[in-house]
Symmetry: C2
Subunit: 326 residues, 2 copies
């Protein structure tokens, strides 16, 4: 049993969560609602917009066939969604709160303070913020120890990743509780031990996105070319093998060490507007060691075979393998 089970910070163990309050029911909040319903939880939702309830039910209906394909939890039903007329009613009986309000720091600050005041003592409250550090969002809350970031990717009912991190006033136990809860709720969790604006995945995709915007702004590439360059290229590998291990394979049998020694100089090239860090011995070794660790016992040949099978499977799954000769 994890030692978080007896954690005094939450009124119930992550295993015992039954009712989840989703605050904000737009694209992300609504996606969370669909995910939690599919996992068999009771969900209460609140959103101040007039048409929020109608939009939310439409989103859940549209998502449900996909969720049926993945496999629903026992007793999962869209009927276990309740729309609450007030924030206070939405969180009154909640064992966990997921906040997905618009990305506005002042709004988040006051909303989290309100949620911390209205929610039962010890119940963990997670924010879906795309990038604000919790330290900056929790300033107005009295009971700030249970406030964490639980940052999902769109759509939350299908993309596994959730990044979990606390702020300066967050209890470490609340971070551990949230990570354990998301894991039980079927998510793939990265728990960060320090705050970083944009967390990890958004920093990576934001760098890519900004480079794309620069290219369009300068007339260097079209939106269509940019999208095709990813879906026909590196995107196929990134569905199952991350950029570090992928680049390690580009180094051939010499792996990441050869890759950095061979392509290291290209870090000085104007291949993006983003300046590179100094590739000193320490960084080189950190990358080489990190890739060796990520590879585990797998040899270069093992990894190549795995990558090749992965690309073939992804090509087939996305309808890009067909006739014998394309």
């Amino acid at each position: 049993m994890p030692d978080t089970t007896s954690d005094p910070c939450a009124p119930c163990a992550p295993e015992d969560v039954r009712r989840i309050a989703c605050i904000g029911a737009g694209v992300i909040g609504g996606g969370w609602v669909a995910h939690f319903l599919a996992r068999g939880y009771d969900v209460t939702a609140w959103d101040p917009a007039d048409d929020a309830g109608e939009k939310l039910r439409r989103l859940v209906s549209a998502a449900w066939p996909a969720l049926e394909q993945i496999g629903l939890a026992d007793d999962a039903s869209p009927d276990r969604l309740t729309l609450s007329p007030t924030l206070a009613e939405a969180v009154a009986d909640a064992d966990f709160v997921q906040e997905s309000a618009p990305e506005n720091l002042e709004l988040k600050r006051s909303l989290l303070a309100e949620l911390a005041a209205a929610t039962r003592p010890g119940v963990v409250i997670a924010s879906s913020t795309s990038g604000y550090p919790m330290t900056e969002m929790q300033t107005a809350a009295e009971d700030a120890g249970r406030l964490v970031v639980g940052h999902p990717f769109n759509p939350p009912y299908l993309i596994p990743l959730v990044e979990v991190v606390g702020g300066e006033r967050t209890d470490r136990a609340a971070v551990a509780w949230a990570s354990r809860f998301y894991d039980l709720a079927g998510k793939s969790v990265i728990t960060m031990d320090r705050e970083l604006p944009g967390f990890i995945a958004n920093r990576l995709q934001e760098a890519l996105w900004r480079e794309a915007l620069h290219m369009v702004a300068n007339g260097e590439a079209s939106v269509e070319d940019i999208d095709a360059s990813i879906t026909e290229g590196p995107g196929l590998r990134w569905a199952f093998m991350g950029p570090c291990l992928t680049f390690a394979l580009a180094g051939g049998e010499g792996g990441m060490a050869h890759m950095l020694d061979h392509f290291g100089p290209s870090l000085k090239s104007p291949w993006t507007r983003l300046a590179a860090p100094e590739l000193d011995r320490e960084l080189r070794d950190a990358m080489v060691d990190g890739c060796a660790e990520a590879a585990g016992g797998r040899t270069y040949a093992d990894l190549v075979a795995e990558r090749d099978q992965g690309v073939i499977d992804v090509l087939r799954a996305t309808g890009r393998l067909g006739s014998t000769r394309r």
Copy 2:
């Protein structure tokens, strides 16, 4: 019939290519060899390294089961590979030349000059360079009009993308010939009308890669976290829907316009070390119009359904869907 068929710049039409010379037989050059063999071409390879032949045969053998799965062209056989003792013999009868030497500008310059001198007049010669503009590589060649960039992704026998672009001295007909040839050879081609260091996909992944290196250098994230943040997150979508259209869906029914108006301010946030371009009206409209064009007649609901099915298919194909409840 494409008008390139009668192009006087090449001794044969793209449709009539039979023999391809692959110059350099490392990870990329060897990957090209495997690809062209699987597509039913005769391939002559040359590489100055002592053990190049042995390594190349091992690479082709390792790749062949994957290529069989995809489906080989009629008469495709690894036996149609010839290792040439000299560069001149390798290119003597070639209808097309693919150069994949190490990434070193001086080396590329002299090698391309040597290739242009040894290859039959008019035969198109493509460089696999990861980022050098052809204008800088073709300076030493006398017959530089048929020199183009044909930049693949690793492994070239599985990843469809090839970026094609010429230099200042390249004939436009040679660029068109190469694009048509790669298309016939089963690749997914992006033809660029201007040179840009790193082309398109490498600029995007280099921005992401540099941000990753900064994070590791600063101890902000581990190699493992970085890889997982992509494979469990945005990488799943990028296997079939590019970053622009993906972000358009994050805007909900309001699409890219809503997304830019809502998340535009985050471009000022320190979410990556890469500074953003000014999101002026022109750039905003270019993104909105480009996404509308990319969406074609598909509605928001169509795109959401397509994305959801894509993510599910990719999750299933990569072994991440299994039991009813994860």
